[in-house]
């Protein structure tokens, strides 16, 4: 099993320029183990001195076979796999998968569950952006921002742990609602976070926004034009920084996003610096959404009581034969979904995260296809990297915010 295939220059002929074959330019391998590739991305670089002539991403080092694995599990149990796709946006992955199942089998979600989903998805967006900001700044040699960002991220992790019992892979969203109601301390913890967080964002901005070193490294670097962004299917902050105000939370609202008042920050320059500004602004907007959702968090059940799809609560099993039957049926066989396919997409921190779910009448999905934003966004890296220095390439990998688990699945 442990054998590495060697690639000859001849096999790369169609990828590199003519100058590489004569030895005028140098081929250099970057990754899969590299501090700045944000995981196991491998880049084959063709360099003229220090300038990038060609950049060829080689992905698949984290190909996990999640899509195939999900076909072997029942609908509810497959939800566990979704966390592991984009591991910075675990709640968002759960959310899109649950929305797809709910659309496929026409399951209702109580309003309280929807509001909690929005709160947690937005907190997860903030946590994801914090990891992005910390590592992006780290790549550009600003070490302290990383420590600041992870301090606030821990607050969010504590909230997620409080709800789902796990810091990252909580699988807290289930088809038809939530696994259980949020604990009593939830509201206070989120309010505490909302109280301190806007000031902390100011702190990050004080460190970076007007920092000449940071400006030097990010301004006019990796400009992505509006046309190119649209042509390559770029979504999320990278698209919005290029001047297209497309956000699925506004364009195709789900989970009651239409009730919340928030803005979609947009810039037109399309360079690394405005992508930074945009994500910082998105964190502020997420705070607004969480605030509104928390203020009008309704009381009531957190999971649908459609017993054909949602197991009965433990308390009912002692006195209801019907509940025992449903419990047994749902945990052994699972529920069946009708034949047919649905596509549902949500706005993940990285862009449009979609899932195409196809049922065939059995309790297991026939096909699960993930449209992951990192995969589409990574395609523009060669485009925006051309002509920049190797040192800038590090900034560019950071700015398109890829998660390799999301790219390779």
């Amino acid at each position: 099993m442990v054998e590495q295939t060697e690639v000859t220059l001849d096999e790369l002929r169609h990828l590199v320029s003519e100058r590489a074959l004569t030895g005028e330019t140098v081929l250099l391998n970057m990754g899969p183990q590299h501090p700045s590739t944000h995981g196991v991305l491998r880049l084959l670089l063709e360099l003229d001195g220090e300038t990038v002539v060609n950049c060829i991403p080689d992905i698949g080092f984290l190909h996990t076979g999640i899509e195939k694995n999900m076909e072997a599990k029942t609908y509810e149990k497959a939800a566990v796999m979704t966390d592991r796709l984009d591991y910075l946006n675990t709640s968002g992955n759960n959310l899109v998968y649950c929305l797809a199942i709910e659309k496929l089998v026409e399951l209702d979600v109580p309003p309280r569950a929807q509001a909690v989903r929005v709160i947690l998805a937005e907190l997860q967006r903030i946590a994801s952006h914090l990891v992005w900001l910390g590592t992006h700044a780290l790549d550009l040699a600003a070490m302290s921002v990383f420590l600041y960002c992870f301090r606030e991220r821990e607050m969010i992790m504590d909230i997620l742990e409080m709800c789902g019992g796990q810091r990252m892979m909580s699988t807290y969203f289930r088809p038809g609602g939530l696994w259980r109601d949020v604990p009593a301390e939830f509201e206070d913890a989120v309010r505490q976070f909302l109280r301190v967080f806007p000031r902390r964002v100011d702190e990050y901005e004080a460190l970076l926004t007007h920092n000449p070193l940071f400006l030097e490294r990010t301004r006019h670097i990796g400009v992505l034009s509006k046309e190119d962004a649209l042509r390559w299917g770029v979504t999320g902050p990278a698209l919005r920084a290029s001047g297209v105000p497309h956000d699925l939370r506004k364009a195709m609202p789900y989970s009651g996003y239409e009730q919340y008042d928030f803005e979609v920050p947009t810039h037109t320059e399309g360079d690394t610096y405005v992508r930074y500004l945009l994500r910082v602004e998105e964190m502020r907007q997420s705070v607004r959404i969480v605030q509104q959702a928390l203020d009008k968090l309704p009381y009531g059940p957190v999971r649908s009581n459609n017993r054909k799809f949602v197991p009965p609560p433990r308390s009912e099993l002692g006195h209801s034969m019907e509940a025992v039957i449903h419990h047994f049926k749902l945990w052994t066989e699972g529920f069946s979904a009708p034949a047919g396919g649905v596509y549902v997409a949500v706005e993940s921190p990285r862009g449009e995260l979609g899932v195409y779910l196809e049922g065939n009448g059995s309790p297991k999905p026939h096909r699960v296809y993930w449209r992951t934003p990192s995969f589409a966004n990574l395609q523009v890296l060669p485009l925006i990297a051309k002509g920049h220095l190797v040192a800038d390439l590090v900034a560019l990998i950071g700015t398109i915010d890829i998660v390799l688990g999301d790219t390779d699945r």
Partner: protein
């Protein structure tokens, strides 16, 4: 712990060479900056403000395998990654240790399919396994302290 107890304070400390070397090795273990998947994020958390792994002399993650002596396999190892991982391990100078962080690296975890190596111990020898999906930063720190304990117990004859 030897002669100075009998002769009083002579300004010197005597100890076995083994203990001195092992003490040195445990207190400045340089892990390789090498994240694979989800666990890498928790590994970063363990390094960051709240958990602060520098308390164990481990704040310096080296990006090059040539400069590191601890490989933390943080995440799922795919069949495509396994040869790369082995090469990185071979590039590390002796003495070297491996921590398998998380369920995927230890046994394949929730993935039982064509793409994932069912345990990184098929590729490299593992010293400490840390359970969890992903393990909490405290669990990783516990794993590291377990490794330290193991290193402290090493004998001269094991060094070669």
């Amino acid at each position: 712990m030897g002669i100075e107890q009998k002769l009083g304070n002579m300004g010197v400390v005597t100890m076995r060479l083994e203990d001195a070397v092992n003490w040195g090795r445990t207190n400045s273990m340089w892990p390789m900056l090498f994240g694979l998947a989800c666990c890498a994020i928790e590994m970063m958390s363990a390094q960051a403000s709240n958990y602060d792994m520098s308390r164990f002399g481990m704040e310096l993650m080296r990006a090059s395998p040539r400069q590191s002596d601890l490989m933390i396999v943080a995440g799922r190892v795919t069949r495509k990654m396994a040869p790369v991982l082995r090469r990185l391990y071979d590039q590390m100078p002796d003495p070297k240790w491996v921590i398998s962080m998380g369920d995927c690296a230890s046994c394949g975890g929730v993935f039982n399919n064509y793409a994932i190596v069912p345990g990184v111990d098929e590729v490299v020898p593992v010293d400490v396994y840390v359970a969890g999906c992903p393990p909490r930063p405290e669990a990783l720190i516990h794993g590291i302290m377990t490794l330290h304990e193991k290193v402290r117990g090493e004998k001269i004859k094991d060094w070669s």
